[in-house]
Amino acid sequence: MEPTNGKNPEYFHKVVDCQYACPAHTAVPEYIRLIAARRYTEAYLVNWESNVFPGILGRTCDRPCEPACRRGRIEPEPVAICRLKRVAADFKDDIRHCLPVAPERKNGKRIALVGAGPASLTVARDLAPLGYKLHVFDSLKAGGGFMRSQIPSFRLPESVLDEEVGYILEMGVSSHFNRTIDSLKDLLDENYDAVFVGSGAPRGRDLKNLPGRKPGNPYIHVGIDWLASVAFGHKTSIGRRVIVLGGGNTAMDCCRTARRLGGEDVKVIVRSPFKDMKASPWEKEDAIHEDIPIIDNHVPLDFVVEGGVLTGMHFEQVRAEYDANGRRTLVKLNQAPVFYPCDEVLVAIGQENAFPWIERNIGIVFDKWGMPVLDPDTFQSANPRVFFGGDAAFGPSNIITAVAHGHQAAISIDLFCQGRDITDRPPPHVNLVSQKMGIHEWSYDNAIEDDPRYRVPLVEKQLALGNRKLEVELGFDAAAAYREAERCLNCDVQTVFEETRCIECDACVDICPTDCINFTANLPEPDLRQRLRVPARNQDQDIYVSANLPTGRVMVKDENVCLHCGLCAERCPTAAWDMQKFLYQVAKASEWPLNAEAAESPGN
C-alpha cells in the first residue's frame, strides 16, 4: 500500500469524525475544548462561523455528527455534541460586537433571496459583510422559514430563533416579509445580479385517495400546515383523541404538539416497523416519554365518518420482509382490519417540493420529478443567474444541510458577481500545530475520562404538557457541560508519524491502549488490514501507512478507535510520533476582496 499523504488536508479531516460528518464541517472538538475551559463566547463564535445558528442547532440539529463520533465506537454512546453547542449559546456573553458588519459602502451588487429560511439567511450572512445589497422575501411575517413555522416552541423557543435570525437581518439586509414571490421571471426582470432560491419544500403529502378523506375533511389536517397554524396562533385546540399518521420527525412534532393542545389520547400509527421509522431515535423517545404510544406495522385503510363526524380509522396489519439487498416489503397479515377511534387525524407522511411560481421558460431546467437541475458543487441552475439551496435544491433535509448549501451558494454568487469561474472553489484553511509543551506535557487535556453520556434534564412533564411554548429541555448546567465536554477524545489532535526518526523500538505499539499501531511487512490494503494486531475491519476509517523503515517494515496505524491520548508520542524515545492539532475550516465567500471602486447602485 502507498504511504499516506499527510499533506492532503482531507486525510486528517476524515480522522475528525464529527467535523467530517457535519455538513458545514463545524470544528467540533475545538468548541468542545472551549466549553471545558468555560470560554463559552469563543465556543459560540467557532460554531457561528460554520453553522450560523448555534443556539437553534444546539436544540434541533439532526446531528449527523453524533452517529459518526469516535466515542460511540469505544462505548455505547457518543459525545453529546449537539447539546454542548446549546451550552455555548446559553452561557455566552453578548457577542454582537464580535460579528462581522456590513460595510457602509456597498459593492454595487444586488441579490434577491427567495425565502427566509436557514439557507437564504446563510447566504445573507456570508455576502452582507462583503458589501452586497441583499433583499430577502418571505410569505411569512418573520424570518426563519420552517424553523419558525414548523419546529414547535417547546423544542425551540422563539427568543432563541429571534436572536439568531436577528444577527443576520441586522447586517443591513432588506427584508420583505408577508411577501410571496409568485413569478421568478418578474423578480429576474428587476435586474438583480443574482437570485438565490431558498424556498424550502413547502408542500405536505396528503392521503387524497383514502376512502373517507373528503367527508372527514374538517377533522383531517396535513401535518406541516397544521403545525404552521399552531405556530402562528391560528389553531389553539384539538380533539381529545388524535391519530397521527407517519413515522418521521414531523409526526413526532405533531403528536407532541397535539398533547399540548388538549389531545389526551394521542397515538402515532405508522406503516413501517418501529426501528425503520424516519424519526430520530431521541425524538421517538421524547414522544414516548409524553405518553404517546407508537403503533407500528399498521397501514391506513380508510377514515370512518358517521353523520358528518369522523369517528376513527381502519388499519391493515402488516409485517416487514427484507430481501437480500435489505429492501423492504410490507406483507399483509390477512387479519381483520383494526379500528382505532379518534376525533381528529394529523397526516404527517412527508413533504414535497413545489415551484408553481417558477416559469418553465426562463432557462431553469427541471427534471422528471419537478426538481431543478443544479451543479452539485456550485448550486447554480441552468440559468446562470439563479442559484438554489436548502430543501429547495435536493428535497427535504435539515437545517445544517441548508446552512452548508448556503455557504457554498454564497461562494458561487460572489465569484459569479465578480465574473470569475465559479467552479474554481477556494481551498479549505488548514493548520497543523504541535501540541508539545514539555517532555510529557501537552497543551490539550489528553486524559481520557470514563464517564458515560450525561442526560439533559427536562422540565416536569405535567408543566411541559400544559404550555406549548415551554421549552422541554433545560440544557446542561456548567458542571454537567464540563463533564460531558471531557468525554470528547480531541480527535483533531492528530497522531503525526515521522518515519525518519523511528528506531522501531515498539514502545508505541506496547503502550497504545486500543491496539492502533503496528509494524509489519507492507501489503496491499485489504491484506494489510487483516494483518494488524486487531484487524482493521471498519472500512470507513482509513489506515495510516508510513514509508519503509530500516527493517523493511512499515508503520500501520488504524485510525478507527485511536483515543488521541498521546501515549504513543509520550512513549516514543525519538519523538517520531507527535500530537498535532489540525484545524480545518471550509473557505467562505470572503476570500477575495471585491473591487472597491464599485459604487452603490441607485434606487436601493
Binding site: 510529557h440 481520557i448 522501531e504 514502545a507 492502533c516 486487531v534 491520548c565 501515549l567 512513549r571
Partner: protein, 350 residues
C-alpha cells in the same frame, strides 16, 4: 506525563480460552524511560500468557533489583509477585517453588542482577533445575544506577559515558548451557515475532528455562558504538532459525514440508516447530550449542533463537522426590502421620 493508561480498549480485542482479553494480563503503567526494551519484554510476556490462556492467579513473578527487575509491576497485575533483593531472586524462587509446585514461576532479572551480584545464585538455581522461566532483560549496563557497564557488556563497547569497556563479557547463555539448563534461548526485545513463541515454549517447558533477551537501554546504552543498541543489534543479529509454538489444545493447521523442520514435543504435549537455517543444527546438542555461540561471537554476530532444549530433563522436585502436592494442601494427617508410622520407620532402620 500521563500516569494513567486510559481504560478503554479496542472493542474487538481477541478473547482467549478463559474469556480474558490482553487487558486482563496487563499491569500498571510503566515508569521506565520511553523506548526502553524492557517494556517490550513486558508486552511479549503479556502476549504469551494471554495466548497460552494462563490463569493469572496461577502465576508468580519474582525479581531482584534493577529497571528490569521493576518490570513485573508492569505486567500480570492480577498475579502474585515478589520483588526481592539484588541478585537474590533465585533463592526466593526456589523457596516459593518448593512450597507450591503447582504455580508457574517467572523470574525476571537484569544483566547486573544476574551476571554481577547474583552470579552465584544464578549458577546454583540452574544446577538444581528449578522448574521456572528465568528471563534476563540484558542491556549491557546497570540501567537503574545510571548506566555503568555491566558484566555482559562486550569488550570495547561504548555506552553513553563514552569510554570503551575494558573487560571481557560474560555470555549468560553459554553459562546456562555449561551449568545444565534444559532450555536455553536468546531473543531481542525489538523482535517480538521471535520473542513471543520463545516465551510461550519456555513457560510450557518442565524444568529450568533460560532466555537472555537483548533489551536496549535507550538512555544509557543506545549509542552508535554500543554493541547493545538497537542499531548494532539489528545489523549483527542472526537466528538459529524460525520457530512456531503450537500449544496442546490447538490443532496443527499449517503444512510443514517434511525435512525442513524439526518437531519437539514438550512435556505438556505442546509442540515446537523449528525451521532451521542450518540443517546440521541439533537443538539437543549442548556442545554444539556452546560452539555455535562462540563462533558467532568471534564473527561479531549475535546468535538468537532457541539454542538448546532437552524436554525430558529432570526438574528439582523429581530429583529430590518431594511430595506431589503443594505444602499448603497437606493436611494434619500427612504432616503428622502418627506413632505407627514412626514405628514402621524405626523398624525399617533396625
Amino acid at each position: 506525563m500521563s500516569y494513567i493508561r486510559p481504560h478503554f480498549r479496542h472493542p474487538e480485542q481477541p478473547v482467549n480460552d478463559l474469556g480474558y482479553t490482553r487487558r486482563h494480563y496487563e499491569g500498571s503503567l510503566s515508569t521506565l524511560c520511553a523506548g526502553c526494551g524492557h517494556d517490550s519484554v513486558s508486552a511479549a510476556i503479556i502476549q504469551a500468557c494471554f495466548e497460552l490462556s494462563l490463569p493469572p492467579h496461577k502465576i508468580a513473578k519474582l525479581s531482584g533489583i534493577g529497571c528490569s527487575s521493576k518490570t513485573p509491576t508492569y505486567f500480570l497485575g492480577k498475579s502474585h509477585g515478589f520483588n526481592s533483593v539484588h541478585g537474590r531472586m533465585p533463592s526466593v524462587a526456589t523457596g516459593a517453588n518448593l512450597a507450591n509446585r503447582e504455580m508457574i514461576y517467572i523470574g525476571i532479572s537484569g544483566d547486573g542482577d544476574t551476571a554481577s551480584i547474583g552470579l552465584g545464585q544464578f549458577a546454583h538455581v540452574i544446577r538444581r533445575g528449578l522448574n521456572m522461566l528465568y528471563l534476563v532483560a540484558n542491556n549491557g549496563c546497570y540501567g537503574l544506577t545510571k548506566g555503568q557497564d555491566s558484566a555482559t557488556a562486550d569488550r570495547g563497547s561504548v555506552s553513553r559515558k563514552g569510554v570503551p569497556n575494558p573487560f571481557e563479557a560474560i555470555d549468560l547463555c553459554t553459562m546456562a548451557l555449561q551449568t545444565g539448563a534444559s532450555f536455553v534461548a536468546r531473543g531481542f526485545s525489538g523482535d517480538k515475532a521471535q520473542l513471543e513463541p520463545l516465551i510461550k515454549a519456555a513457560l510450557c517447558h518442565k524444568g529450568f528455562a533460560f532466555i537472555d533477551v537483548i533489551s536496549p537501554c535507550v538512555t544509557f546504552n543506545n549509542t552508535s558504538r554500543s554493541s547493545m543498541g538497537y542499531e548494532f543489534v539489528r545489523d549483527h543479529i542472526d537466528a538459529t532459525g524460525k520457530m512456531d509454538f503450537v500449544p496442546l489444545r490447538q490443532e496443527i493447521s499449517a503444512n510443514y514440508e517434511p525435512g525442513s523442520s524439526q518437531e519437539i514435543t514438550l512435556h505438556d504435549g505442546s509442540v515446537i516447530h523449528l525451521y532451521k537455517k542450518n540443517g546440521a543444527l541439533h537443538q539437543h546438542d549442548r556442545n554444539q550449542a556452546i560452539r555455535n555461540l562462540q563462533t558467532h561471537r568471534e564473527q561479531e554476530q549475535i546468535l538468537t533463537g532457541l539454542l538448546y532444549l532437552d524436554p525430558d530433563h529432570c526438574e528439582f522436585h523429581d530429583t529430590l522426590g518431594t511430595v506431589k502436592q503443594p505444602l499448603r494442601d497437606l493436611g494434619e494427617g500427612d504432616l503428622c502421620p502418627g506413632s505407627r508410622a514412626l514405628e514402621a520407620i524405626n523398624a525399617s532402620l533396625r
